[in-house]
Symmetry: C2
Subunit: 444 residues, 2 copies
C-alpha cells in the first residue's frame, strides 16, 4: 500500500503530549556521581505521556526472562500505560525475588514522581545478567530524571543515549502521516548491539511457529499520538515486529530482556481505530511498521563489531517457516559470517548452511546471487546448483560494499523470508571476550 510518510524530528517526543529525559545515576557503580546530568554516559531514561495511553508490547520468548519483562507482560495485557522507565548497565535478569521487588519499585517510584496511577508505569532494563540492581542509584536517578523531562529533540536524544549499552550511537526515528484527516506522528528509539536475535511474542510464550533456537538485548519504545484501542494496537505491533525486530540477527543469541513497547495517547484527535477492521488500521500499521523496520535495521548496522550488513532474501522454500529456517542457518553460520567479513563471495559455505538447515533443500535447484540493497539487478553466482559464468572478481565486487543483499532461491515452493544479518569480525570477539580484570566490562 501507498502511505505518505514524512520524516520529522523529535523521535519519541515528536507525537503530541510526550516528554522524555535521561540522566546518569551510576548504575555500574563507577563512583562518579548519582542522578545527575554529568557522567561517563547517561544510564536511566524516562518516557512519559500527558495522557494515559493504549499500550501494546512484545517480549522475549527466552524461558529465562528478566524481572522487568515479567512485570510488563501482565501490565501490557491490561492495555494502559502512561510512562516507561528504563535503565542500562544492569539487566535485572536472574535476580530472583529481589529482582521482581526492584522492578516493581522502579515502576512505583516513576509513578509517584510523575503523579501517575499505580500500574501505569512500565519498566525495562539492559546490561549485565545476574547482578542485583543498585537501588539507591536507581532511586536517585528516577527522582532526578522525572524533574528533567522535556518535549524537544534534545530531551529525546538524552533518553536514547541513556538506554544504550554497547551501542556506538543513539537510534531514533519519527514520521508524520495523515490518518482520518488528522496529522498523526509515530516516533521511536531503540538500543541493540549484542545478544541480538530477538524472537518476541505478546506474552513471552513461544509460539509453535517460532523456529527452534530463535535468539540481544534489544529494547525499543515507540510513541504515537494516534487514537487507537489497545487490542488493535497490539495487532498492529505484532505484525510490525514480525517483519522487523523479529527478522534481525547480530550474533544469534536471544536475550532475556528483549522488549518492544508502543504507547498511543490519542492526542492527534483522529477517529478512534477500534479494531483491525477499521478503515484507518492498515495506514497506521504501515507507519508503525516503517518505524519498527527503520529501528531494527539501525540495530544490525550498529551491532557489535559489525562491518557489513547483509539482507538475506530467501524465496521458493516449501513454506514460510522453512524459508525462515534457511535464512537463519545462513545468517547465523560462523563460516558464512566470516566470509562476509572477508569480502569472500563463498557460495560453498552458503549452500552448506542451507543443506544443514531444517529447510528442505535440493542441491541442483538452488540459486544464489547478490545485489545492491533493494535492487532487483542480481548477479547470480549459482544457478540450479551450478556455478554461473560470473567472474570471481565481479562477485568480489558485489560483496565488497558495507551493505548488500544475498538472494537465495530454493525453487521448491512459495515460502519466502527476509533476515537482516551481519558479518562476524575480530572486533566482535575482542569486545565480547571482555576483560576479567575489569568486571564492569563484561556484557550480559
Amino acid at each position: 500500500m501507498k502511505v505518505k510518510l514524512a520524516p520529522v524530528d523529535g523521535a519519541v517526543v515528536a507525537p503530541l503530549g510526550f516528554k522524555a529525559g535521561g540522566v546518569f545515576c551510576d548504575i555500574k557503580r563507577l563512583g562518579t556521581g548519582k542522578g545527575s546530568d554529568k557522567g561517563p554516559k547517561r544510564d536511566l531514561a524516562i518516557l512519559a505521556s500527558e495522557q494515559p495511553c493504549a499500550v501494546a508490547g512484545l517480549f522475549t520468548t527466552n524461558q529465562v526472562c528478566a524481572a522487568p519483562v515479567k512485570l510488563c507482560i501482565p501490565r501490557a495485557a491490561k492495555g494502559v500505560a502512561q510512562a516507561v522507565v528504563v535503565n542500562s548497565g544492569n539487566a535485572n535478569a536472574c535476580t530472583g525475588r529481589q529482582g521482581m521487588r526492584d522492578a516493581l519499585r522502579m515502576a512505583d517510584l516513576a509513578e509517584d514522581a510523575l503523579g501517575l496511577r499505580r500500574g501505569h508505569a512500565f519498566v525495562a532494563s539492559t546490561g549485565r545478567i545476574g547482578v542485583q540492581l543498585p537501588m539507591p542509584q536507581v532511586e536517585s536517578g528516577i527522582a532526578a530524571c522525572a524533574t528533567q523531562l522535556g518535549s524537544d529533540a534534545d530531551h529525546a536524544a538524552r533518553a536514547a543515549e541513556a538506554i544504550m549499552t554497547s551501542d556506538t550511537r543513539p537510534k531514533q526515528v519519527a514520521v508524520e502521516l495523515t490518518l482520518g484527516g488528522r496529522r498523526v506522528r509515530v516516533g521511536g528509539m531503540c538500543k541493540g548491539a549484542g545478544m541480538i536475535q530477538p524472537g518476541m511474542s505478546p506474552n513471552g510464550a513461544r509460539p509453535a511457529s517460532l523456529p527452534a533456537g530463535l535468539h540481544a538485548t534489544m529494547l525499543a519504545f515507540v510513541t504515537t499520538d494516534a487514537a487507537i484501542q489497545a487490542p488493535a494496537l497490539q495487532a498492529a505491533l505484532t505484525e510490525a515486529v514480525a517483519s522487523s525486530f523479529n527478522r534481525i540477527t547480530v550474533d544469534g543469541d536471544m536475550s532475556t530482556n528483549d522488549t518492544v513497547l508502543v504507547l498511543a495517547n490519542g492526542m492527534a484527535g483522529n477517529p478512534l481505530i477500534g479494531s483491525a477492521r477499521h478503515k484507518d488500521f492498515a495506514t497506521f500499521q504501515h507507519a508503525l511498521q516503517h518505524v519498527c523496520l527503520a529501528l531494527a535495521k539501525m540495530i544490525v548496522r550498529d551491532g557489535e563489531g559489525v562491518h557489513r550488513v547483509v539482507t538475506v532474501r530467501v524465496s521458493g522454500a516449501r513454506s514460510v517457516a522453512e524459508a525462515d529456517a534457511a535464512a537463519r542457518a545462513v545468517g547465523n553460520s560462523a563460516l558464512v559470517k566470516t566470509s562476509w567479513h572477508g569480502g569472500d563471495p563463498n557460495w560453498g559455505r552458503i549452500i552448506d548452511a542451507l543443506g544443514y538447515s531444517p529447510a528442505t533443500v535440493v542441491e541442483d535447484k538452488v540459486d544464489i546471487g547478490y545485489s545492491a540493497p533493494g535492487s532487483r539487478k542480481v548477479l547470480w553466482s549459482l544457478r540450479r546448483g551450478q556455478p554461473t559464468k560470473a567472474s570471481f572478481a565481479d562477485l568480489c565486487r558485489a560483496v565488497a560494499p558495507d551493505e548488500f543483499d544475498l538472494h537465495i532461491r530454493l525453487n521448491l515452493g512459495k515460502g519466502a523470508a527476509i533476515l537482516y544479518a551481519a558479518d562476524l569480525t575480530e572486533a566482535y570477539v575482542d569486545f565480547n571476550k571482555g576483560n576479567v580484570a575489569d568486571p564492569t566490562s563484561l556484557g550480559g
Copy 2:
C-alpha cells in the same frame, strides 16, 4: 565395562595387514610438482588392506552432500571394502555430474593400481566446495601413492598428514586389546579444524532424533584386524560415533563431506563377531569407541583458532534430546564462546542460551558449575538459579585452564548429554575471512 586397552604405535597400520601412504600431487594447483614425495604438504592418501574387509560408515546428514559421500553410502551398505583413497584441498562438493564421475574415477584408479575388485575402494575428499577436482593431478597422485604404501608408523603419518586441511597437526591413535583370546588392534586417523559440528548417520538420511540445525569437514578412518561381520561392525560404529564424533562442535557448521569409515580385515584370527549379541561385541565396541572419542577430542583441540576446549555436561533435562539441545545452544553461542576465550565465568550468557534453547528450562532450578576435565569436584557458580558464594576470582581460576568441564544441571528429569566444544577467537575469524586476493586461501 572394563576393557584393558594398551596404546600402540602405527595408527591405521597398527592392525595386521594394513598399509598406508601419502603424497603431494598439487591438488590446489600451486604448480609445484605432481605425484611426488615433495611439496608444501601431502594432499593425497591411500589406506589399503591385504585382505577384503568388512566395512561400516557414517556420513554427513547435510542435504547438500559431496560426490564421494554419494559414492560411499551405497558401497558401505554392501559391507565390503579393501582400500580408501582420500584427497585434501578440494571437497568435490557441489560439482554436479562431473563430480560424481571424478569420484568414481578416483575409486577405479585406486582399484586398478592396487589390483582390487571393482567397488572395493572408497573415496573421501575435503577442501574447497564448488570447484571441480583437477583430475590429472589426482590421477598422478593415486598412481604415485599406490607404489609408496608401507606398514610402518612413518607411512601412517604420511597418510595422516595428507588428509589435513587447516589442521595444524596429524591426528592418530591405536590401541591393542585381547578379544576371544587373540591380540587385536584398532587404529585410526582423522582430520577436522573448521566447519565442524558433525551429525552423521549410516545412510546420510536425517533421523528424527538429530537436533534441528546439527552441523566441518571431519574425516576419520579406522582400521582393525578384528574379525567382525559388517552389520555388527556398523552397529558398533553407529554407537561409537553417537558418543564421539557426533558430540563435537568447533563452529556449529555441519559439512557436506563428513565421513567416518571403519575397515575390519579379520587377520587377528579372533572368533568372528557375527552380531551385536556375540559375547565379544561389547569389548570390541568399547575399543572402537575409545579410538573414536580420542580422535574426536583431537579435532576439537586442534579446531581453527581454538584456545580453550570446554566439555559441556548437561544433566537433569526432561529427555536426552532436550539435554542435547541445551548443550548445543550453550556450546554454539557466540557470546558464551567469546566469554570462554576471555576467561570470563559468565553464567549469565550460559543461562541465557539455555533459556532460548529448545530444551525446557526453569530458571530457579538451574545449577551451573565448573571442574577440571573429568573431575567430580565442581565449583558451582549458580545453584537453583541463585549465584553461590563462590568468588569471582575463584570462578575465573576455574575457567582459566586450556581445558575445563562446564556442568549444567537442569533438575527437571533424567536426560543427560555431553558436548565437546571450544571457544571463539579472533584467530578463527581472521583465518576464515580468508584473503580474496589469494583464492586458494579460501576454505570450503
